[in-house]
Amino acid sequence: MEPIIIEGTPKTPTVRFDAGDGVFEIKGRSIPENSVEFYKPLVDWLDTYKDAPLPKTVVNIRLEYFNTSSSKCILDVFKKLEAIHKAKNEVEVNWYYEEDDEDMLEAGEDYESIIRVPFKMVEIEE
């Protein structure tokens, strides 16, 4: 599978999905007006990956800002990961937040309560 590598912009995050090492990353800002357009290729890619995933997949989400329209798309990403986990593969989500950013921590906890995948909340010291 070809990896997805996308450079970040002021409104869209840096993305690195590599089926070779099973480490997936989304980081930066995710505030586009049309988030579906940005996330659909990622969700489609995961849909293919889930048919033959590695025994362990690690997902690092390190967002500085995300808008509510991205929040639904990020949930779609997590739903694909949940399907991989449900099929008896190891999946781990690391949700990063800056130490004073309670809003970002709470956002991670929202997903943790909706999605049945192990989450780890990781505080970043400024």
């Binding site: 509510t68 639904k72 929202d110």
Partner: protein
């Protein structure tokens, strides 16, 4: 008939106003406004926690305009803006006040007001639950909105939405929304 969208503000020349904008709200305008306000907050060394909240609320406010404004009435002075909106960002004691304005069809007022009233009478815990419910159950609309913007704003600020509908004519009103972003929630 004269209708001036700025008449709502008594003090637009106030030096505490860090941004005033009226006109078309497209993607480039949103980028520019976000950069301007962020740079301003950095330049006055605003504390990161408040800065992030203001930025988040600005993103949602501007994208609410982008996704939801109704078109301007035929007689309105600005006929070139497809998505006409108004934004004022003002430094106030303990935080920032963000005001947006946009035209709304009279027929759409009731639904919007119901939504705001529902949000305003919810406790912080109820808002968190409402956010999660909409996140998990509602699809992104044809207009591109997720239906979460106002809920997110109230969740992040902890403050009620203060709003007003000013009648323009029989078919249109101008909707003002005031959001206070303060340091402590």
């Amino acid at each position: 008939m004269s209708f001036n969208v700025e008449n709502y503000f008594s003090d637009l020349s106030d030096r505490d106003i860090i941004l005033f904008y009226k006109g078309n709200v497209d993607s480039d305008v949103i980028n520019h406004i976000l950069d301007t306000v962020e740079d301003k907050m950095v330049s006055i060394s605003e504390q990161p926690k408040l800065r992030k909240k203001v930025y988040n609320v600005l993103v949602e406010s501007l994208q609410n305009l982008y996704h939801h404004v109704d078109r301007v009435p035929d007689e309105f002075e600005d006929q070139t803006s497809e998505k006409f909106g108004l934004l004022v960002v003002k430094k106030v004691n303990g935080g920032y006040k963000i005001t947006t304005g946009n035209f709304i069809n009279t027929a759409n007022i009731e639904k919007l007001e119901e939504k705001i009233k529902r949000i305003n009478r919810s406790s912080h815990e109820e808002i968190k639950e409402l956010y999660k419910f909409i996140l998990n159950h509602q699809r992104i609309s044809a207009k591109g909105g997720g239906g979460l913007g106002l809920v997110d704003i109230v969740r992040k600020t902890g403050n009620k939405l203060v709003y007003e509908f000013k009648k323009y004519n029989e078919k249109y009103s101008f909707f003002y929304l005031n959001i206070l972003v303060t340091e402590e929630v």
